[in-house]
Amino acid sequence: MRNVRRSAFPLLAALSLLLTIVLGACGDSTPTTAVPATTQAVATVPPAVPTAAFNSTTTAAATTTTTAATTSATTTVAATTAAATAAPTTTVAAGPKKGGTVTMVTSLESKSMHPYNCDDTYCIAYIGRVYGGYSGNTMQKRDPKTLEVIGNFAKSWTVDKEAKTVSYTLKDGITWTDGKPITSDDFLWTYQQATKKENNWSRYAQNICADPCTADKNGAVGYEAPDAKTVKVKMNTLTFDIVEKADFILPLPRHVWEGKDWLDPTKNPAIDNPTVTSGPWAFKEWNKNKNWTVVRNDKSTVWPVPLLDSLTVITVADASVGFQKIKSGEADAFENIYGFSTQDEAEAETLSNSTVYKWLPANALWQHISFNFRRSFEADPAFRQALTWVIDRQALSDKVYNKLAVPMYSDVAPSSDKYDDKAVTKWGYDPAKAKQILKDAGYTLKDGKLIDPKGVAIPKLKFVYSSDSPEPGKVAAVAQQEWKDLGIELDLVGVPFNTVLKTIQGEPFDFDFVTLGWSAGVNPESFGDVWKAGPSLNWGNWVNKEVNDLYATAQREFDAVKRKALMSQIQALESKDGPYIYLVAQTAFAVVNKRIGGVSGTPLGIGASYLANDYATSWYIK
């Protein structure tokens, strides 16, 4: 008894201590009078806006051509001027003062600051802030509010449709941070280096027509700098977005980089420690995997000079630590693309010191379940329709994506200005209808298993999903449950993303369904390339000549109204009987401390990430 008493006391003490710790951690220690976080909805679907700030007009002027009269007399397009761009001065509401620091958190850090070794959102965010652009968004960019194409490094451009050439004219007086002018020579030199084979540019074939250059390939065939202010890019094909497609070079300062190793950061410090840049922020320091800091570039000439003194990005282990930093005021902001999930948004709403911004991006991330058309039963429209009728998109949005998603019905996200709500077939949730469709098509049920019209039982089907995040598994579970009622048994296979790709992109294509996501572009017309890409992107092997032809026509159509009509046809076809069960388009969210002003929502975001094309230049400390 004496030994029991002796050993009981320390045991009780230890248990009490542990209980205290657990209760302390789990209990809500925020004041009971906490004010819930302010939530702001941001503009979602943008109004119909022109997608390119140029108009093509033809002139029946004398031409230099010497060919026969049957050829077109038109050689040039009237020069166009880009929509008025923000002058490189600070224009803000009265009151905001310069100064202060903002700290952002991310759980996923960039690995490099080399603009031509950068292909994820994290490195683009870093590069965009210090260089003022990135590949595809240098000469021009999208106005974050109107989505209109406006000038960035370029003040204007002309398009020669005959020659398939875009001539950009650089803005006056743009300089590097060391005061030297940014000229077309910087662009040309950068192009020459980036396109050297030994420099291993990952976007080479995407941007350059070569090896060999056939008539149907996109890409540039020439790049010139006829004078210090002009860059001329000749493209192989003429598409409506030629101004954007030809804008694939982000210039590097030739006078700094020339003679240095293009790829090796140990031999070229300018790669990861760029001291001469062109963006609104000047690089200060980078402690890898810890923090990254930029300071205001008072000599910014392309972008407005920021109001803040500096911007720091801290790398944290995961979202929970990020939240704690925001809660405690150690950090001011994060955006969901930086490693935070939809489940985190609910917790973000409880933060009393922050505002939560939500928006449906113009370039939304959207999810789908893909069929494998190599399977005979999946080639049957009735089979596919029945499966589609038992997927409740609204329920998925509410339960799986925590109401941070909207239903989707085709390749075109609802936030796109090309989206046609009247054209799409809006699949609801109707299990009775699904069963009727199967019955009408000759399917029967036997012992709970679906039998096809030929009397063959549908085997157990393989549904592949990525186990790297929770949502795909939930989608798969929903499909398994719902399709079971139709007599379809699923074998859910959750594997790492790399394994998913290996399974769906190569022989023997051992899957029946896969759930994945796409990142929509602001120009949904470009998505048509997916259906021509082979199993690397068209893993379901969907072939629809009509849709392919419509996409090809849309990509060549400069008239925005006509192009939208073509996209409406595509949406009608895809939503009715397309390659996927289209699920949802995800809402983006961001959390910003209330002490920060100048945050404005746009269809491209709030300026926390590179996507908004704002780079937080208008942010200030209240």
Partner: protein, 319 residues
Amino acid sequence: MGRFIVRRAIQSLLLLLAISFIGFMIIHLVPGGPEVKYTLDPRIKPEDLQRIREYYGLNDPIPVQYFKWLINAVQLDFGKSYDSLYPVTDEIMRALPNTLILISSGLILGLLGVPLGIYIAKRRGSTADSTVRVLTVIGSSIPTWWLGLIIILFTSNFAISTGIKILPLPGFNAENKDNLLYYIWQLVLPSLLIALTGWLTYSRITRSQVLDVLSQDYVRTAISKGLSDQAVSRNHILRNALIPIITTFGTTLPAFIGGSVIFEQIFGFPGIGKLTIDALTRSDYPIAIGVLIFVSTFSVVVLFICDILYGIVDPRVRY
């Protein structure tokens, strides 16, 4: 001893060769590659994906890739990271100090488990002995990483409520970069948690060994001869009890180096563990293999040194 050293060195090299071969095969056979991150970009062209693989020699048969790698590795060239473009050795050297600081502080504190084990062994059956044994059971049952997370949440919420910061949140703000005190403050919790493992392990082993040694005739003789308690502990008990402790320490150190990933993730110390995880998830093969070789080499060397130490600590051990 000389022959032993040469023999062990050859064995170690062969072991490393086998590890490198098996590791290389496994890493390259796992689906993935440097081109994977581009794969779901609708704009990327199949020619670009193919060219990326060609550039890195990934279209060669895996044994060919291995031999090319091996030829460079013997010249201490382990290649460059696919992502950062830095040499593998540079990336490891950048990450290593964080791991060493994190682990060393914890391991050194953890060695306090040895005197604790001696203390409770000599007071067998006492309250102190029972308390430590109970805490050992509890401590062994609770994952230290979970405990760390709970403590972080607790101290963070406490700081928000009261304004009193007991412990910092993980993550290094730029303004604290050169602040040594802040760095030490960041180390407090992870060091204690790593040390906790040491206290549990070494106290248990030491207690067991000391009790075993205490029951030996020569110890009883030493005590009855009139030797002081300190002299008995130092010259007879500790020396004999140390052998299994050296073994444990020898196997623990490499395990911590390679298994520090959880602590690094939780406490924001970007060390070898985080480097490994990033390399594997991003299919950065050179880094993944480089870390494997580094940790393997480190383990082999540490175990080798432990074997040498046996001979020094225990004169009966001869090679």
